[in-house]
Subunit: 303 residues, 2 copies
């Protein structure tokens, strides 16, 4: 089978966006996505689907883009590439639920190609519970491991550690959540291998709404009050801090005149900051803070 | 008169913090500052005063610090300095009011010295109204110009433009507010000049609570409703975006393991994001957006 072209991959990722949107609408049961088509002056564009009037999901989006043109200097410098034309396509998702009992989730799959044939895949899924519940974290990592293992047994351990390092709020010395998987610059050594990596990204795309529907179904009806909502506000503030200070994709997009509204689709509807808020010892909030650490093996975790 | 030592300057700035805190407590009429002393492992420390239980000011702080020690590599690289010991002291303020009718304000004065005698002063004041009111912006700039003019007629025009460039949210192509003044690396050519620049920073310190008390008194009782509060939330979101993405001081502090809570004292109590929120034509919100631009001469502004 010949290698899929970059246009094929863009078309496949566009279908994946469509699929994910349908599945999330079904999972939420009330809200719908509204598309916002945009074009990029230098070449390409995208379709940012914004979730509206949800029952469980308060704010979020599923963004598709396929952009191309002369490689911006900032990109070629940062990625240490020769000059020439680039092509990049991908699907990015962030969902913020109403309930502090339902986790924030993020997913991204992407493909990058230079006109000289240099290419790679990247992506990841990570989970940010406002309250860490070990059985949920275990479920999440098990599903990721299963999906990784179907392709390459080295993927899960490698990509799990990579996520721990990537989704890290350095100035707080906290992970963003319970991690997940993250990979980048995964290049093919053969046509078969190329198809495998592409299929791996599609498997993650399919897994994503399944996982999130599971959490919506399991946790959306759990009770909570103003105390939990206040904590959610602070955790959302940390999410903002990570995305604006440390997230390479966000910084990069804002630095290279990307489409601001699509990039900042990841912002929560509301975020709070208070000075030196410290949870009471023994509280679920303190438990959460204590588990926002790298190198927790959620597969074998026991309290 | 011999030049003030760096320790003298730190002591004078500490007194200035005290003075500003007292004046702001008087202006608010209800809230009080609570001190939070901290030390820096490598040398020095600070006293972050956090405002609590205010009537007009919802969240804010007046932070003093005086730090020293071997110059961190990131600092010497960025500032193009020889290695050796550094000393830095200053006062930083950000105030977020409850009412969307009262502006957010920021002030900073600082002094930096290397052990080889290289030294400079820096600082600035800028105003971020949730709703731009031309007469308020004119008052603000007039007071800044008067203070600048008492020292050097070149200061106001130069530092006003510098503020326009500095307090700019590049990814939104919006200024943070109506600007103000900003200056950096102002070095003395003689002992007299040194004292003048120090006095200039102290004049700004004294001016600051006067200006903010004026706005508190003038605007805190003006009516507003949920629509104005919603707009305030979005403007506060832009404040977060500026501080976390573009503010050199914030980025630098977070990058060099500064004291996170003190650095992020500038965060609003609450911030909101919604997708592509665009104000109605002819609304006060649209007027504000249209005036978040560089190079507006607020001294001569007429509608």
């Amino acid at each position: 089978m010949p290698r899929k072209s970059k246009e094929d991959i863009a078309a496949i990722y566009k279908q994946m966006q469509e699929y994910i949107c349908q599945m999330l609408e079904a999972g939420d049961g009330k809200g719908t996505f509204k598309g916002d088509l945009w074009t990029r002056a230098e070449g390409g564009g995208g379709d940012t689907r914004i979730f509206q009037n949800g029952a469980i999901i308060e704010k979020g989006g599923v963004a598709f883009s396929a952009v191309h043109g002369p490689t911006p200097l900032k990109i070629s410098e940062k990625l240490k590439l020769e000059s020439g034309n680039f092509f990049a396509t991908g699907v990015s998702i962030v969902l913020h639920p109403f309930s502090p009992r339902v986790p924030i989730i993020h997913m991204n799959i992407r493909y990058f190609e230079m006109e000289d044939g240099t290419h790679w895949f990247g992506g990841g899924i990570d989970l940010t519970p406002h309250y860490i519940v070990p059985e949920d974290a275990t479920y999440f990592h098990q599903r990721l491991k299963e999906t990784c293992d179907a392709f390459d047994l080295s993927y899960y351990p490698k990509f799990k550690n990579w996520a721990d390092d990537y989704f890290f709020i350095k100035h707080r010395q906290e992970t963003r959540g319970v991690g997940g998987i993250f990979y980048d610059r995964l290049s093919a050594t053969s046509d078969t291998h190329f198809q495998e990596i592409l299929d791996f990204s599609l498997a993650l795309g399919k897994l994503f709404p399944e996982i999130y529907s599971y959490f919506m179904k399991k946790n959306a009806a759990l009770p909570y009050g103003p105390e939990q909502t206040a904590w959610q506000g602070l955790r959302r503030g940390r999410y903002v801090e990570f995305n604006l200070v440390w997230d390479a994709g966000t910084k990069f997009g804002l630095d290279t005149n990307g489409r601001t509204e699509s990039i900042l689709m990841s912002m929560p509807p509301l975020a709070e900051w208070s000075y030196q808020q410290e949870p009471e010892a023994g509280s679920p909030e303190a438990f959460t803070l204590a588990h926002l650490k790298k190198e927790i093996d959620w597969l074998t975790y026991t309290t």
